[in-house]
């Protein structure tokens, strides 16, 4: 199947994200990248666990002083819901409904932006209320590196989805751009996978002590 071919409901294949050779290669390469990302985040988690609550003096805030459940819960719900909305977007992509896919991707972007906004508020709050900063302690460095790297991934994922939406807004769906949308949504799910471990290992285990 030719990638730029004008498609119809009838000619749209069952797995448009893997219909061309380029798409198959992208699919494989992207999962390889996700395997590498797993190792990257695992090493950041390992560093965090080794340096958790390691502060130079007793007046530094520890994890049980810092984290507040309502904010973390809200952020978790936002990101989890945005994962579902991107599933909806890919559902419409497979049904060859471009407008609906764009709409659900738009909702995903809004939820992601809300998440990012709360994260910026959170970091700002820690720095100003608790003097918990990147340079204040080993704990601070490990915390901001891990959670900040995740936040960076969220920001990059948002940028990625927005660029795809704008670039293809007048093109409609084709076998050329369907794999692009699909991989962006895989990336978005992976960000949520990492967040599941962050809210469990960093925040919930931090509150437990």
């Amino acid at each position: 199947m030719h990638a730029e071919e004008k498609m119809t409901n009838e000619t749209w294949p069952a797995s448009p994200e893997k219909a061309t050779l380029e798409a198959k290669n992208k699919f494989l390469g992207f999962w390889f990248f996700l395997g590498g990302e797993t190792v990257l985040f695992a090493s950041l988690f390992a560093t965090y666990l080794a340096l958790k609550d390691k502060v130079p003096t007793a007046d530094h805030a520890l994890s049980k002083d810092l984290f507040e459940m309502p904010l973390v819960f809200l952020m978790t719900m936002l990101l989890l819901t945005s994962s579902l909305t991107s599933v909806y977007a890919m559902h419409h992509m497979k049904n060859f409904e471009f407008k609906k896919m764009q709409l659900w991707l738009g909702i995903t972007v809004l939820l992601g932006l809300a998440f990012l906004g709360f994260e910026i508020y959170e970091f700002n709050h820690y720095v100003h209320e608790y003097h918990h900063s990147f340079t204040s302690s080993a704990f601070g460095s490990a915390f901001y590196t891990l959670v900040g790297f995740h936040g960076g991934h969220v920001a990059f994922g948002l940028l990625w989805i927005i660029v795809l939406m704008i670039r293809n807004s007048k093109r409609g769906l084709s076998l050329y751009n369907a794999p692009k949308f699909y991989l962006a949504s895989l990336y978005w799910h992976f960000i949520d996978v990492v967040w599941v471990f962050i809210f469990t290992v960093v925040y919930l285990m931090g509150m437990v002590g």
């Binding site: 749209w12 069952a14 395997g35 797993t38 695992a42 988690f45 978790t76 469990t200 285990m205 509150m207």
Partner: protein
């Protein structure tokens, strides 16, 4: 749930079938999502309200996280579908190296 749809020579015929299959797949995704929300609620409740010992709570919420991530990988990221053998190899290799890294950092670093 292998949602590998028909690749017959006449796609016009099975368009309805494919639409139905996609809709069914989406229903499973929504069920998966509800389960994930439920697991999240339990994890937060176990820490927030439960008067439980740390020896129980920490492994418990880690287990909930692992289950939730399996849902995310196998349903949201379609790893349960056919043609995901290489992705599984890549991801599990990453998980293995990651697990060893975490284990090493938690046991050999101290001060």
């Amino acid at each position: 749930m292998a949602n590998q749809q028909s690749t017959s020579e006449n796609p016009r015929v099975d368009l309805d079938y494919r639409r139905k299959k996609n809709a069914e797949d989406m229903r499973y995704q929504v069920i998966t999502f509800s389960l994930m929300i439920f697991l999240t609620l339990i994890a937060f409740a176990a820490v927030g309200f439960g008067d439980l010992s740390n020896w129980f709570v920490v492994p418990f919420i880690l287990l909930l996280a692992v289950v939730q991530v399996i849902f995310q990988l196998y349903y949201f990221m379609h790893m349960s579908h056919k043609g995901h053998e290489a992705p599984q190899l890549f991801l599990y290799s990453g998980v293995l190296v990651g697990f060893i890294t975490v284990l090493a950092f938690m046991t050999i670093i101290w001060w």
